[in-house]
């Protein structure tokens, strides 16, 4: 019998899903397949599409099923890692409520399946193969539509008592501040996410402040009067052009992200904070500098503030699939 030396990691997002055959020692991707999620078709179809991507990835890698230890999947919502049941996935729709997804996928692919949430697996990916390699304690913060996080303590993913740890987006930063997607006020997600920036930018445009953004939106073939999510790309372009509306919104978000980092550091004192997600990827290192400065100002222990490294994520879109592969190796090995 051949050794089961490979694992499959799947990053299941609201728009796309990515499956990768991974050699777990080095984190090398031997083959991958990306499909549209098609969430609107419901959980059954999406599960079949995940299975299809897994099969395609194995074909591209030239790796047979018998050499695969199992499949790890990062899902965009709360779930129970022990049972493989998804509690809910707002991005995927109502058919995902209390869904035994691991069991369903297992039947389709004939391989053991383990789940965790997408930001947790992203944190595991960065810890194992990315920015956090070699650290003992690491907090990952992913900034996008929302703000999610994953916490590695003593080298292990910390799930929490109710599998609800590392919800960094819902740390309170401004009591009675703007309304958060969760229904409460003043959380980090309502202040430092891309969505929060977009809210500020839209309000400024509606108030008639001059900005190049309507021009950029029109150039991109979008309706400046009703742009929907503006996106990290255009925000980055406008910021780099010095657009005052966008610069202000970005600086506010950086300030609050700095406060979030400080609160987490004062509470956990980790070795490293890894910042990732679309905004950080688009804007790069310059985005981090003010975040670090604000954070360090608020550290209560200042003496060796620089020892707590605040760095960019390294794996980009692959953090999720790679981290899911690591969890498959650990849990199914």
């Amino acid at each position: 019998m051949a050794a089961k030396e490979f694992v499959i990691g799947v990053d299941l997002g609201g728009t796309n899903l990515l499956a990768a055959v991974v050699e777990p020692e080095k984190g090398e991707i031997l083959g991958q397949a990306k499909l549209k999620t098609r969430a609107e078709l419901g959980a059954q179809v999406v599960t079949e599409r995940v299975a299809q991507a897994i099969t395609q990835a194995m074909e591209k890698a030239g790796v047979k099923r018998k050499r695969i230890l199992g499949v790890g999947v990062g899902v965009p919502g709360p779930m129970h890692p022990d049972t493989g049941v998804v509690v809910c996935c707002p991005n995927l729709g109502p058919t995902w409520e209390n869904l035994p997804f691991a069991e369903n996928l297992q039947k389709l692919v004939d391989l053991p399946v383990t789940l965790d949430n997408d930001v947790n697996v992203g944190a595991v990916g960065e810890h194992t193969y990315g920015a956090g390699r070699g650290t003992r304690d690491m907090l990952a913060i992913f900034v996008g539509t929302g703000i999610g996080g994953g916490l590695i303590l003593d080298g292990k993913l910390r799930s929490g008592f109710r599998d609800a740890a590392a919800e960094v987006g819902h740390v309170v930063l401004l009591a009675d501040g703007p309304l958060c997607g969760c229904g409460q006020r003043g959380h980090a997600e309502a202040l430092a996410s891309r969505t929060a920036m977009e809210r500020e930018i839209r309000a400024a445009l509606e108030a008639g402040r001059p900005s190049i953004l309507p021009h950029l939106l029109a150039q991109a073939g979008r309706d400046p009067a009703d742009p929907g999510p503006i996106g990290s790309g255009l925000i980055g372009d406008a910021y780099e052009a010095g657009d005052p509306v966008v610069v202000e919104a970005v600086e506010r978000a950086q300030y609050y992200l700095g406060l979030l980092v400080a609160s987490c550091v004062n509470l956990l004192d980790p070795e490293m904070v890894v910042l990732g997600g679309g905004v950080l990827e688009r804007m790069g290192e310059p985005y981090l500098e003010p975040v670090r400065r604000v954070a360090q100002q608020h550290y209560v222990q200042k003496a060796d503030a620089e020892r707590v490294r605040v760095v960019r994520a390294e794996l980009g879109d692959y953090a999720g699939a790679l981290g899911a592969a690591v969890l498959a190796k650990r849990r199914l090995g």
Copy 2:
């Protein structure tokens, strides 16, 4: 040779110090001695007074030195548990900066000495013998002049990468809010400590709002025009009498304490949050109810919010000495 079956725990505070001979299995105190700290006399004298209290406690317990495993001390400031060097203790004065306190005390008492900070040892005390018995993950928050905390994860005290974890008083709750003792704005300590309540109360009295507090202060033989710290006792009395100024200040502090609990729960998802300190002890269970309500509102995972227990500390003034004794047993055993 007799078995070294006992340990000594010392709680070194800015005003008083308490030494206790402890039977570590049950956390039974066999003998104790309390002395004024006399911080103004400097570190050398205070160290001698700690040694004196230890000797007195052993005499009261009728336990000889050869049956003592070692001494644990909770000190009111940052220190390095590995070296026993105190970084600083603002409450004790400048002679404590970079002081090899464990070594100095060890010479005086001829017993091994281990240190940790006062809130960490309080958390260990509550976890081992108090409200947190049997929990795996527990956060303790002590509300007094400041706000301190201690974090137990997987049954162990989490010191952090720089021995700076669990600084719950410096979690940001209101960006750009009132100035904190650490020099930054909007931290929990500046919003939910007894000092923060007193600041609000004094401002209201200075603004001429009617209150029974000046009357209560005068009754207590204090100058209502310059009361200094008002204290948990009088705040509790005025609150229970329905004094509007004090009720408002207490409710604000409860609100912010609830937000602090929520932020910590969303980040760590612990099994239990233990709330202690002078204000909580004076005002009891009624103080907790609004704190729990606000916290639960801000939990992002609401389904089983009650499973995270938010409870009062049980050991009162003994949490520190008992927790220090536990650390002595663990580290020196």
